[in-house]
């Protein structure tokens, strides 16, 4: 089959690779219908997460049709049109039973790598490096899905492929942040990052009852999407003072909930941005956390800050004093997609959650290198490049 692979830092190729096989009884094989680039892929492609082997198949956000099922699969059948959560979760361990699926004890076959870094191993993630399990990704004609009864959800007839695709990760990640940050009716919520995840975190906050939602970014097309398709307000950080804007918008309190959806390659203007870039390039920190810093400083006293963007290791100049003295709740998570996907698909079927606008560039798999270049450089208004194997 054909697949898009990582072949070196900032290099993506399309190659012929072997087809995937059923390896466990709970596996299915999917014929991929849609698979999308995600901002977190850029950390892999750029070498910021040094656990990729040349030839690894990329992609973790996808949907498709079941073409083969393992003998232990009970609820999925050949022919099912399904969307698949990116994290691999067994559904049987204590963490899965608490609906903390991305923390699954049994989903990462390479636990020694992340245990050594973080003290514990989270679950595995499809197409997301050998640190997260070494699973072949979804930018391919076919992909193996472990624990399919737990992580593959049948798409309702009313929901198109183009909409369902983003339930796989962007929407479910956004929902994870908005929900676990404790968003409740009446809250003012600020979201840093107007990519797919940030937009969907904003939409989830609105559906959870937030009174007002504001999204911070600098890319005009993305901010326009937020206003037009999500229905939230926007702040262009390249044009104004974000902290002052948020104080004005909240009667001086600051947002009740602050969701950071940017991750380890955050851009920031001025001296701070240069400082972070230099320290990251010298490997004195592994992530640039300017958005998290700003979220902590913006948040109201006693409010909640959620780290939804991907970080791998250490960051510098973190305002821990503000966290303590303002009595903030600081929380983070990878996506607990299996927890939210049924509800997300219902919202999608009712037209309350639209995602098609995120797919600004739809193209054949063979054009994956061009798709990633457009996506990385944010050229031509690219929000997400979607491949159709």
């Amino acid at each position: 089959m054909r697949a898009a692979t990582w072949t070196g830092v900032n290099e993506v190729s399309v190659e012929t690779v072997p087809d995937p096989q059923i390896l466990n009884d709970h596996d299915v094989i999917l014929r991929v219908r849609r698979t999308t680039t995600c901002g977190s892929d850029l950390h892999l492609i750029g070498g910021y997460i040094p656990a990729m082997r040349a030839g690894d198949v990329l992609g973790h956000e996808f949907m498709g049709e079941v073409v083969e099922v393992g003998r232990g699969v009970r609820h999925r059948r050949v022919g099912d049109r399904v969307v698949v959560n990116s994290f691999v979760a067994c559904g049987s361990c204590w963490y899965c039973r608490q609906e903390l699926y991305s923390l699954c004890d049994n989903g990462n076959p390479n636990p020694g790598i992340t245990e050594g870094l973080w003290g514990q191993s989270p679950g595995g993630c499809i197409g997301y490096s050998h640190a997260m399990g070494g699973y072949a990704g979804s930018h391919a004609e076919y992909v193996r899905v472990p624990y399919a009864d737990v992580g593959a959800f049948v798409v309702p007839d009313e929901v198109s492929d183009d909409r369902a695709l983003f339930a796989s990760d962007a929407v479910s990640t956004g929902w994870t942040g908005a929900d676990l940050a404790g968003t409740k009716p009446g809250d003012v919520v600020a979201v840093w990052g107007a990519g797919g995840v940030g937009q969907m975190a904003a939409r989830a906050a609105m559906l959870l009852g937030a009174e007002r939602v504001l999204v911070v970014d600098r890319v005009p097309e993305r901010l326009a999407q937020v206003r037009e398709h999500v229905g939230a307000g926007t702040i262009d950080y390249s044009q104004t003072d974000v902290l002052a804007e948020l104080r004005e918008a909240t009667g001086g309190r600051g947002p009740d909930v602050c969701i950071e959806a940017v991750g380890m390659e955050a851009h920031s203007p001025g001296v701070h941005g240069v400082y972070d870039q230099v320290k990251q390039q010298l490997r004195l920190q592994t992530g640039r956390s300017s958005a998290v810093r700003e979220a902590v400083l913006a948040c109201r006293k006693g409010g909640s800050v959620f780290v939804l963007g991907v970080f791998a290791g250490l960051v510098d100049k973190f305002p821990l004093g503000a966290v303590m003295n303002k009595g903030l709740t600081l929380r983070g998570a990878q996506v607990h997609g299996q927890r939210y996907t049924p509800r997300i698909l219902e919202h999608m079927a009712r037209g309350e959650l639209v995602t098609e606008h995120l797919a600004t560039h739809v193209m054949p798999l063979e054009e994956a290198p061009r798709g990633y270049q457009l996506f990385k450089d944010k050229e031509d208004g690219c929000v997400r490049a979607v491949f159709t194997p």
Partner: protein, 158 residues
């Protein structure tokens, strides 16, 4: 020596280095990197109980030859302790070697505990190989990563 043989040998050395790096990671004393046994000397670390929590009642975990096969295979070399876990979390399944053990032994024990937990909770051990992949460039970094991944089931803080 022929060039391909030299390259194979270099890749083998890099793979072994990757596995060794992973083995040492848990003993590294850097803030944020390396979390386990950092103050234990290797002898003390080797004598500690190593434990997984399994979401099954103690009666289902078994004893002796009735333990899950990967753990039972270690036989009398290890002592096994099964106790109820607090808060309805199932059972704490712990094991340690009766005699002084080396790194290879500890690796086998870590893998056996993880596999036993998966067998009890899910009914099978998750596999990842063979996976589809494209052309593997023969770089030392790539070989080191492969070595680290190959040994990752036997390493970590467990």
């Amino acid at each position: 020596m022929a060039a391909p043989t030299l390259l194979d040998r270099a890749a083998g050395l890099a793979g072994a280095a990757g596995a060794e790096l992973l083995r040492r990671l848990q003993h590294v004393r850097l803030p944020g990197a390396g979390q386990a046994s950092t103050t234990d000397d290797p002898g003390t670390a080797a004598r500690r109980w190593r434990a997984v929590t399994v979401l099954r009642p103690p009666a289902e975990v078994g004893t002796g030859a009735d333990l899950p096969a990967p753990l039972a295979a270690l036989g009398e070399r290890v002592e096994v302790r099964v106790t109820p876990a607090p808060g309805d979390r199932g059972s704490e399944l712990a094991a340690r070697f009766r005699e002084p053990a080396g790194e290879e032994d500890l690796g086998r024990l870590r893998a056996a505990l993880r596999e036993a937990k998966q067998l009890l909770e899910v009914g099978e051990v998750l596999r990842v190989d063979p996976q589809p992949h494209g052309r593997r460039a023969g770089t030392p970094q790539g070989a080191a990563l492969e070595g680290a991944a190959a040994s990752a089931g036997k390493e970590g803080v467990l």
